[in-house]
Symmetry: D3
Subunit: 62 residues, 6 copies
Amino acid sequence: MPVITFDGGKLDKAQKAELAKVFTENAARVTNIPATAFVVFFKENDPENVAVGGTLLADRRQ
Amino acid sequence: MPVITFDGGKLDKAQKAELAKVFTENAARVTNIPATAFVVFFKENDPENVAVGGTLLADRRQ
Amino acid sequence: MPVITFDGGKLDKAQKAELAKVFTENAARVTNIPATAFVVFFKENDPENVAVGGTLLADRRQ
Amino acid sequence: MPVITFDGGKLDKAQKAELAKVFTENAARVTNIPATAFVVFFKENDPENVAVGGTLLADRRQ
Amino acid sequence: MPVITFDGGKLDKAQKAELAKVFTENAARVTNIPATAFVVFFKENDPENVAVGGTLLADRRQ
Amino acid sequence: MPVITFDGGKLDKAQKAELAKVFTENAARVTNIPATAFVVFFKENDPENVAVGGTLLADRRQ
């Protein structure tokens, strides 16, 4: 039942597969909840849709 | 004002229209808040962006 | 796996039990996903922590 | 560290740049936390994925 | 309809009232959506429930 | 900048400290983003505020 949400930039499939595995295994170990109960969502955001310090990442990278 | 968020896989428009209607009507009835005050968001996630039990849905379906 | 989040004000337990049931049953029916796969979260917010039209609910009710 | 999320419809880049700037500057001023610590996410939703009063925006606009 | 969520630490009521007002006024101006359509949520998190750089804020402050 | 949110039940401080550390270290390694850029939020939910399969956890445990 616990839900882990990763909100960041674009990732490739191998990165998401590894993060889902390591997040779930560790969360199951630490909380003592079965791994099968965990849901992980990856939210990939365009550099135009994220700002740090008031500046869009898309503008920082220009 | 209440906000209902549905985070899942891909849905077609008719499914979203029906869910928005039934969620809102029932929430309005149970909470006694006017239906017009409810907002519903559908967040559709790629099978590569969701994991259950530490495995991406995209890999489960292979 | 789908996650439904209800973000609103304070509810009593009977309201939450009914909403969880009706949201899940309808979502299972419309999406054809087993009801057991659905998670529902209720996020109860203080009137001081919600604003509509730029005014906190706590100030509207004064 | 504070995270501001704007969940709405489609915006152009100039609108997002201005909102990120004004949200961050004001939040930094009011909370006394450095502007560099703030993250802003824009979540742009299709009219088919948002409902108000139980009706999808995509159907309201027809 | 747009929903602005501020996820940070504890704020007092005056801070929340000012942020709700300034966020909504600016968002209405930039998006050309009526201010009355905006909802703002403040999510106040305990220092034990937030980490930056892998360390809980509660431990940073010790 | 990436934000990891853990939405589950009640945890003690040691569990949260360990999860924040292991999530951040692994996410930094896999994404090649500095660990200092990661924010982790723990959202602890009452058993009355979470349902699985349409039944509140508070009622399952009775």
